[in-house]
Symmetry: D3
Subunit: 249 residues, 6 copies
């Protein structure tokens, strides 16, 4: 049986909602270089949510496909055409409204699945507002960005020459690998170029100056992103997410 | 080549955005009886947008999958588990933010594709705010709910015994037919029941009293909703949408 | 004794508030052709509220004289000088604040009397927010636009050649008739012209193009709007409103 | 010819709007003792606006009949049933929306006519936001509470035993006098009682404690409020308002 | 031991918070003539809060150093460089958030110490919203502007030739005197000039016209503001504040 | 001459504002263990701003003393008494209002000095909104958290046994060292305890469970935080900040 809420009828959903963990995938529509599509952030987190939910009898809510504004240091910034972002207030209200609806339906267990680094603090605010407004003591929410859930050993193996850090892992090895596994036909392998963001100052500059991120939008080298490594990453993530759900609920 | 923005890379999108009509499908997550899934409103409008965009070289933005609160007279109301809605302010800000981003990318032609009756006025407000904030005279937006686009002759043929009106066409013949065509495996044909909302007063009552809509959530008879009639409906809609785009842009 | 809250002293109001239905008339300041004044929408609903309240021992709160933005398909649109409208957020907050105050005073029974089609969904949102914020189970609100309350038989009699539909009944027969009865000296009979909106597409276009509504702002023929038909309309409306109040409270 | 916008047709309004001063009366719905009705603050400022507009060929917009929350030191506070107030955000947005609409119509000269002391700062904020949003240099707004416009000589004559100050002039001599002149049938002369707020501390206390204002809601003695003194007050106010308009526009 | 919250560790604060009055000083960053610094409004109210808190075992929260927009009649208006103000919504939310946090910590007794006349109504709104949101009956807040707390006898002595009124006491005798006492090194005595605002109309004009306030920004004569009179003022204020706290808590 | 805006008169400020970099320190009021006071985050960033401004002829605006909600992984979370935080919307509006005021004064160069990790994204949003609203191309803003500005060599020297990472550096070595240098009398050396957050899961849990952070609120060992290391840290920071200002402006 499906774990996707959108595929359930209301009475099927009603039977599961009180006991299930509700997964809310939150992605973004954001440039991912010349070789990956704009939907990477929500494609990935939607798929991951589905895989985890299948293991824990969860429900996956319709994915939020727009996220917070891209920052130069983590997503290349708003200067790329196609990067389509929400302002802080909008994203906070959006997530807040949706979670409060699930609570009204009887849900009490939530996993907010973040697929876009810039969403982090706005999701935290939304959840905090939800807890205040719901004013109940039986609601529990876990939340993380998928990059928090990858084991260090796995990263070490994937990057034998050293890991450049999650911030620069934008349209880079990890995302390329995962997309090669999830949606190989959406990856333009011939357009993958070796790239490294070298001009980023340690502080932020507004408005974003030209040239501080590579023209492609890729922040670190995606060359070694393959379906095989994608499979390793995804299996590790799913294992850890499932463990999180089993530990917390 | 794909018309889906989420499947394009940013440079592919950049090449098309200035000349293309951007389609923004706006749906809802809402009960649709025992036989249709919660995602009907966004599944349908997403598919329709795609079919129209293919005919006019458009771009389909990621679908907004949550809409305004269900009203008893048009969607059965908020009392059904699974109906997951946004407040007015959230929906307005969401659509406003997204359209302003496309304008920033260089887009000037928009079709806001409404798949959920209750969204109507909030989309109008969002578009009005966008025009004020953009403060330019080269932006044009068309908008309609798909039910506005069906030819009367088609409706007359589909309902030989008389059309109960669009308000009650919730989880009824038209939506059942379209889903049978688009996603037959998501229709539980065995659970279709003949139903008619008879207890709705002509005024609205808050909070929604029990019993004014059928328990199933179906507001009018879906029995004659078939893939064949779905095909007729969809072809008529696509023809009219394409005509709208060609007339206005 | 007066039913107008504004004419009561606070102690007179205090004696009635707990048992009475509070009527909140919500109108608009909007063009109504060359022959009707800008205040039609609030004049009418204020008078109707008063007549109904007198029959059910109600209290009529001060009228909200500004409403939501005029739409081309129902009020001719915002392009007419004099049409003075509120944004969505403002109208929602305004109605919400006022209703919450009445609840604080001890009122539990409300009739939100809508005199302007475009207000509909924003009033629904305001009431929903009030119920959530008040968080009590003894509050009941009924709401409708006055056009919902006219009996079909009456309409059939008034339009022997067929009724063009409520959307186009703007500054047309019904409103002209009601104003001839309520405020004959505010109707410029010599300026009434036969008019019919023929150029409205079935979809909406933003910004509003010139020429899709008649220059006068009248959307359907007002010629047969007389004080006599106004009297018939008003008596029918009052009867039905009174019935609504007696049924629901 | 009428100065009331609501009585004009849109084309009559259009002819005047560019050259006229637009008067926006802002009142309140607030207790005014046992002898004056809840609508005093908007009745008075509406009438005054009309009288002034007639002298300067102005336009009087529909009155805002709800104002900011009553404060114990100036209006007795929110504890009285019938006092029906807006929150800060609502009042600011309401006035802002309305003024921006008039600017869209072509108006550039405004008089915001305040009939309720507590509105003062929120009107200032609304006007400031309007000027920022309109971003033009041909807009001019004057604003005052009517109590600012009364000549000291007049006050001295009306209060031979000394003036208690405008703060306590709530439901007291001045308002009683003006209402006796404007709406004698709404004044319950037999219920006028001599009263003086003696227990108000110089600081404010939240929530408002019982007993710091007289039970009647009257803050200073209304006994000598007569139609004759009302006439004197009103003539003085109108003269000074007209002078203000002539000086500033 | 310190009364400043910012100097306490969290466990020191925890021990005091339930029984102590929390003082929240709210100032402004605003021009104060050629002789006083921009921080006058928050310097003064911070110092006063400290002196009062020391007498009543209170806690002084970190000072809000930005206040509401300066008005010509009370602070010279926004036209002076350096005057750095918050909009209404921001100030209301800021004070509301902070007070709700203290309530979460267990505090129930509050003194909102206003050092800037223009803050008055926005602080009232913030406190009202806090009480509604906290929805408890053990919270008590007192609030006043320091000018409300000065005894008339003291004022009479300080201004033997008559007091021009608090509105014009901006960068004038009282503030100069207090700053000479509190921060003598921040007073440029040589730049004090005798000044009197004579051109202010009794109504307000937007945008602020040039020349209605003195070029210096001083609204009344500061010449006699000395450390000695500052001491008298401050002692009187502290005495009255302490009395307020002892009376109310 | 002072670099503190609050100590300048308006005409002194006016002379400098167009050419100077405006430093806006943004801190927080947050628990910092048993040995450091609640004001650490704003004390430090205020002092650093002052030192940097002195080197580049800047202006330091009054410090924002309240920041975004403390997160368990970086500040111990909101469960500690004394941690007094702003919601997202409030912090964004606050910073936005203040920066827009400086722009109105003629400033074009800004350094937003972040002293509290949790502020990061909300400051980014505020600055983005400011740039959109100002709509000018001569505004430049740099922004960073002070921890971004410390040289790796310095960190390596200070932590010979390995650096636990900035997230856990809360009330730990770096902050203790800086406070020992800046405000030795506010450091309770006798209460410093060796502590390490070991129970933090890699994901976030709402509401915050008991026991995931040490009871003291210290997240990593502060034992080796001395005035001497504080001096090294501060000198390194000031050097790097000055370099940033000189590079960017």
């Amino acid at each position: 049986m499906t774990v996707l809420m959108s595929e359930m009828t209301w009475d099927e959903y009603e039977k599961k909602v009180k006991d299930s963990v509700i997964f809310l995938p939150v992605g973004a529509t954001e440039q991912h270089g010349y070789h990956l599509p704009l939907g990477v952030d929500f494609y990935q987190i939607e798929k991951l949510s589905e895989l985890v939910a299948e293991n824990v009898n969860g429900i996956v809510a319709p994915t939020i496909q727009y996220g917070y504004k891209s920052q130069p240091h983590s997503g290349g910034g708003q200067i790329f055409p196609g990067t389509t972002s929400l302002s802080a207030q909008t994203l906070i209200l959006l997530v807040k409204d949706i979670l409060l609806e699930f609570i009204r339906h009887g849900a009490t267990k939530f996993a907010v699945m973040d697929g876009h680094y810039e969403n982090k603090m706005f999701l935290a605010e939304a959840i905090d507002l939800v807890l205040k407004e719901a004013n109940r003591d039986d609601i529990k929410v876990v939340k993380c960005c998928f990059t928090d859930m990858l084991d260090e050993e796995v990263v070490t193996k994937l990057f034998p020459n050293g890991f450049p850090g999650y911030d620069l892992e934008h349209a880079a090895l990890i995302e390329t690998a995962m997309m090669c596994h999830f949606y190989p036909n959406l990856v333009h392998k011939e357009k993958i170029i070796s790239e490294q963001a070298d001009n980023l100052p340690r502080y932020e500059i507004f408005p974003q100056p030209e040239g501080i991120v590579p023209n492609s939008g890729v922040l670190a080298d995606p060359i070694h992103g393959t379906a095989a490594s994608g499979k390793i990453i995804i299996e590790n993530l799913v294992k850890n997410y499932v463990e999180m759900i089993e530990t917390e609920f």
